[in-house]
Amino acid sequence: MSATPTTKPVKKRKIKLDEHLLAYRGVWVFVESERGHVHPVSWELMGQGRRLADQLQVELCAVAMGAPGPELDTHCEASFHYGADRCYRVASPVLRDYRNEPYTQALTQLVNAHKPEILFLGATTLGRDLAGSVATTLKTGLTADCTELAIDPEDRCLLATRPTFGGSLLCTIATLNYRPQMATIRHRVMPMPEPQPERRGLIVDFEPGLVEDSIVTKLLDFLPDALGDKQHLPYAKIVVAGGKGLGKAENFRLVWDLAGVLGAEVGATRAAIHAGWITPDRQVGQTGKTVRPALYIAAGISGAIQHRVGMESSDCIVAINNDANAPIFDFAHYALVGDCVSVLPALTKAFASYLGKPFKEAT
């Protein structure tokens, strides 16, 4: 990405792909797995990959890497369920745990051998680590942390859109003269496709020729995170979120109350977190979590772009804000112009009575 973005659409540069790049075809998705689990962002990407591959009329291929065994095979099968036509299976004991060096070597070799035009990875710690070094090794462009993907119908170019400048703007980035076009994509911004269990595809084995002795970095230990309740927030079906507009710490209780009645998760803006009203793991937004619940209730939240990118793909956004001009009303579905301190208890009461739950009127 160029450091100085321009606003005028850059004059369409003619693509002139070098001879050896013309052969690059197909959309690839890297299937990220660690300790037996595929990261869901991979399947979200498969859904996008399918759409773009169809548009380009090419194959959608999955890349599954890991130690040989049934686990890896399951991942290959699952990639078909989520839309892949073909899956490159890269099996080696050296790939048991993620390490940058062997994964970079394997993926770089695979790309050089099978030449995709597009390669997607999740914008996870693993995905960003791997994508950054693979792109540099291949000397191609990489667009990080994208939130939107499209194909330019005229020249088959990938148009990857992402927040920039601390999220105050969005920019669309293209890799014109290099292949593959690489991008990492945020978790939870793309919908999860429905798996089709009957779907099958072609598994192609790739031998990376890795030798453990030549790998310098060794994994000494893995300390899994304690499973806190924070894990639930990205997947919650209902989120009640509070912002600075709640006015003071005590008022955050109103958010918890409503969430309690709804069986919802609680989210917050960075401003509320900075105020110390709630713990940082509840932050929704660009530097927090991305959520896409069926219902997002935003109380006293202005709707700054950094918050917005983390929740705007919610199916239904209800915004409560006493400022009718608050930016959140630009993208909310329901606008409730009023004081959240008096609206929240009323909502709690209404939902409690609908859901048949006991509710104590606040005193």
């Binding site: 450091a3 950054g132 070094s133 601390g166 703007l169 920019c171 290099y178 909502l347």
Partner: protein, 284 residues
Amino acid sequence: MHIVVCIKQVPDSAHIRVHPVTNTIMRQGVPAIINPYDLFAIEAALRLKDQLGGRVTVMSMGPTQAEPALRKAISLGCDEAILVTDRIFAGADTLATSYVLASAIRTLDKEMPVGLVFTGKQTIDGDTAQVGPGIAKRLDMQLLTYVSRIVEVDPAQRRIVVERRAEGGVQVLETAMPALITMLEGSNEIRFASTPGMFRAARATIRHWDRNAAGIEDIKLVGLKGSPTIVSRVFGPAARAEKAKPIPFDPADPDSCANNLLERLLNEMPKVRKELEQRRSDTQ
């Protein structure tokens, strides 16, 4: 041991406003700061220096206006600063940036061998987290990203052990130096410069390296020319095509407003209705 820290000066995004008409970034009056994540890289390097001695060189690629960022790094305790600056570096994407920084570090390595390179996790303007990995690959160094703690460094054995944030847990990794570490935020508390530190910074001479001094071999690989990605459009977030539906609110009667909202959600939003109905049947 010689440690290099790469830092970038960025506009403080908290102050960035977007021109309502032209959609350009209004930089006027927007303060420039050290990329906040890079402060953790500086701190990590300084702690190693406190512990093991040695030398910390801070480096930035950017225009001459980036000097204050380097001075600030010196005020915190870095020994020397190098500004890699040349008109032809302008417009670089991460691939071109990592090429320039890697070339400069290679040149510096000839003055005094570099054992560790630190970068921040990511910048707040580019926000890519790619420059660190890029430098490591180009210098053929071991890459350790998202490091939350440096457990052990043994300069004699050229051995380093770190904790690295991974999905679902923390990896404890051991590797050989030279290595490049991208530091995670919050990994340690950032120091406040002392008065003598401030004086050192105010008086420091900052070395400026142009393409020759930085040892750039192929000028086709720097700046806009050396950047495979191009920004084709920059735009502000769009309002939803459909306006938000107003739910009238009367402060005297919040309850009817709440009931109104509930009713409309049930009637107009099937997915919400599904969730609510499911919860209702769960309670019963």
